[in-house]
Amino acid sequence: EAGVTQSPTHLIKTRGQQVTLRCSPISGHTSVYWYQQALGLGLQFLLWYDEGEERNRGNFPPRFSGRQFPNYSSELNVNALELEDSALYLCASSLDFNYGYTFGSGTRLTVV
């Protein structure tokens, strides 16, 4: 069974640009979660999508947005990139968040 897949694995962008990160959940999982792991800041919850709807959102500005498609895959979009957006972006999926998530390997975003 394929796990959670994320693309791309690495990305370098310039300040002010826009970026789209992609995530495919485990087959059968309807929920997708996005986390940011920046150096020294731990794992910060970004977004939760379930059945195509945004269910919860972390304390991030509106330039962080996303969507979930009918096949449950998801995109995370970040507009007007800032240097502090440099981080590992982790996607996870689950059937029920109470039982934990399965994470992908992440996308390493570097903003220069």
Binding site: V4, S31, Y33, G42, L43, F45, W48, D50, R55, N56, G58, L90, A92, F97, N98, Y99, G100, Y101, T102, F103, G104, S105, G106, R108
Partner: protein, 117 residues
Amino acid sequence: AQSVTQLDSQVPVFEEAPVELRCNYSSSVSVYLFWYVQYPNQGLQLLLKYLSGSTLVKGINGFEAEFNKSQTSFHLRKPSVHISDTAEYFCAVSGGAGGTSYGKLTFGQGTILTVHP
């Protein structure tokens, strides 16, 4: 709101020695508890979870954790570590019935375990 505190940011230990990584949580509702491991440049892998039942939970790679409700703790232990256990370990809590905690795992800041030969 719920929170997780991992009491040690770094734990150095020699190979074949026992180790305990400490985790305390706070929550106003019943919780589910998790330990994840992250190897360099990788995502997080689930080690074990406590949902209900026996307070001693066994996970992968020889790790176990004990849920202590009165002390609001969920410490991770391994009786004999290997070099390959060198990684960052995260404790997490879920269970928010609504509000800002709904749907999300709240993670501790992580503990870097370094196993020396």
